[in-house]
Amino acid sequence: MRVTNPHLAAPEANPAALSAAKADPMPLVALPLVTLNDLLWLLYLYPIRLLARFLPRWSLYAIGKLSDPIVQFHARRRKARAVPWIAEACHTTPRDAARIASQSLSNNMFRTLDELLMLRPSFDKMLCCTFIAGMQHLENAIAGGKGVVLTVGHFCATRVCLRYLASKGYAVLSVHNQRPSNKAEGRLGRFLQPHFIRLQKLAYTDHVYLQDPDCSLKIMGRLRRGGLVVLQADGRGATRMVEQVFLGVPWLVATGIYEIVRLLDCAVVPMLCLGRSTGFRIRFDPMLAIRPAPSREAFMSANLPGFLAALEKQIIENPEEWTLWNHF
């Protein structure tokens, strides 16, 4: 549900973000019939998805490798925009930043292929975890008994790692934005969007959507049982946001996650997931120290910079694995 009524005070809601969220989509007639983006999604949703049902993983990855030049070409403008940002945020040269932008794009493509593989019933057996660090931090947080919020960034291996943790008895409720990442640039893309949403629903087994009216209640229920919930701290789909500087740029930070932490007093553990299904690593960092505060605003002021700093550190250490550089 969105904040829709003037009776409801939401001082931290960003008016621009809210108006964008409420904006009507562009009318169909104003869209081109088909774009390269639409064609890529069409290939992904049908032929590649069908092939993913029976092809061995290595051959699916080979298809991904062959399509990489097309994906890089398609994203060339977004990459060009990302390079100065990466160079500044990661304190690196433009040349290295260009390499990071390309690698991030490739890794993101392999992530989408892994998501097709997730549809296979046998996917759990295909998972190859090479290393888990900091498991004691997770266990300590669980022992607190108030539930654990795992904060992650948009890293390529997050969903694969969550699937692996679930197979090992650590079921994690994940929170997704139902608005598909397929930007539907053309009429074909608009037609494909519902199919993409259906595919996502099949791939994510233990999840709740931000758009669900009882999203927070489901999260609360899981935490009250002492369970685990994962939230993407750099996610931008939300009705409550504050503008912060993140990786050197203004960033609308969704505050819902922090409000849940404030209200439920649960533990917060940063998690880092790197790699792909053929070999991935998981790292749990020590629990974040939460400073109690009497009000929502004071809580955000006291804790938000620390939460974001932990995530920024992860991204700067592993820039090739973060998917949002080329997103804008």
Binding site: M1, R2, V3, T4, N5, P6, H7, L8, A9, A10, L210, D212, P213, D214, C215, S216, L217, K218, I219, M220, G221, R222, R224, R225, T239, R240, G256, E259, I260, L263, L264
Partner: protein, 105 residues
């Protein structure tokens, strides 16, 4: 002069006192610019003011503090929270379970 709506309690709904407290908590916890009497007991709470999901959570945690109870995880559904009568009935039940001496004979 404000017209105060009469309390019409259905069988199975909570006590008038509980409903009044819930209404007050709802307005106070969400900082609504509403008078208590503007909020009808029959109305769906989320539809009355347009809540986002986090606001629902704020309301539930404020209720827990007000009544000194804890919602059971399986009862945390929007259908319960939006319906003031059902909510009051549930809260009364939880309070009674916490304080057996207050249970009706």
């Amino acid at each position: 002069m404000d017209v105060v709506e009469p309390l019409l309690i259905d069988p199975g709904s909570g006590s008038p006192d509980t409903m009044g407290r819930i209404r007050r908590v709802f307005i106070e916890s969400l900082h609504l610019n509403l008078r208590e009497q503007d909020l009808r007991y029959e109305a769906k709470l989320d539809e009355s003011v347009g809540l986002d999901s986090v606001a629902v959570l704020e309301f539930v945690t404020a209720l827990e503090m007000e009544f000194g109870i804890q919602f059971e995880p399986e009862m945390l559904t929007i259908d319960l929270v939006r319906n003031m009568k059902e909510l009051a009935s549930y809260v009364d039940e939880r309070v009674a379970r916490r304080c057996p001496s207050r249970e009706p004979a």
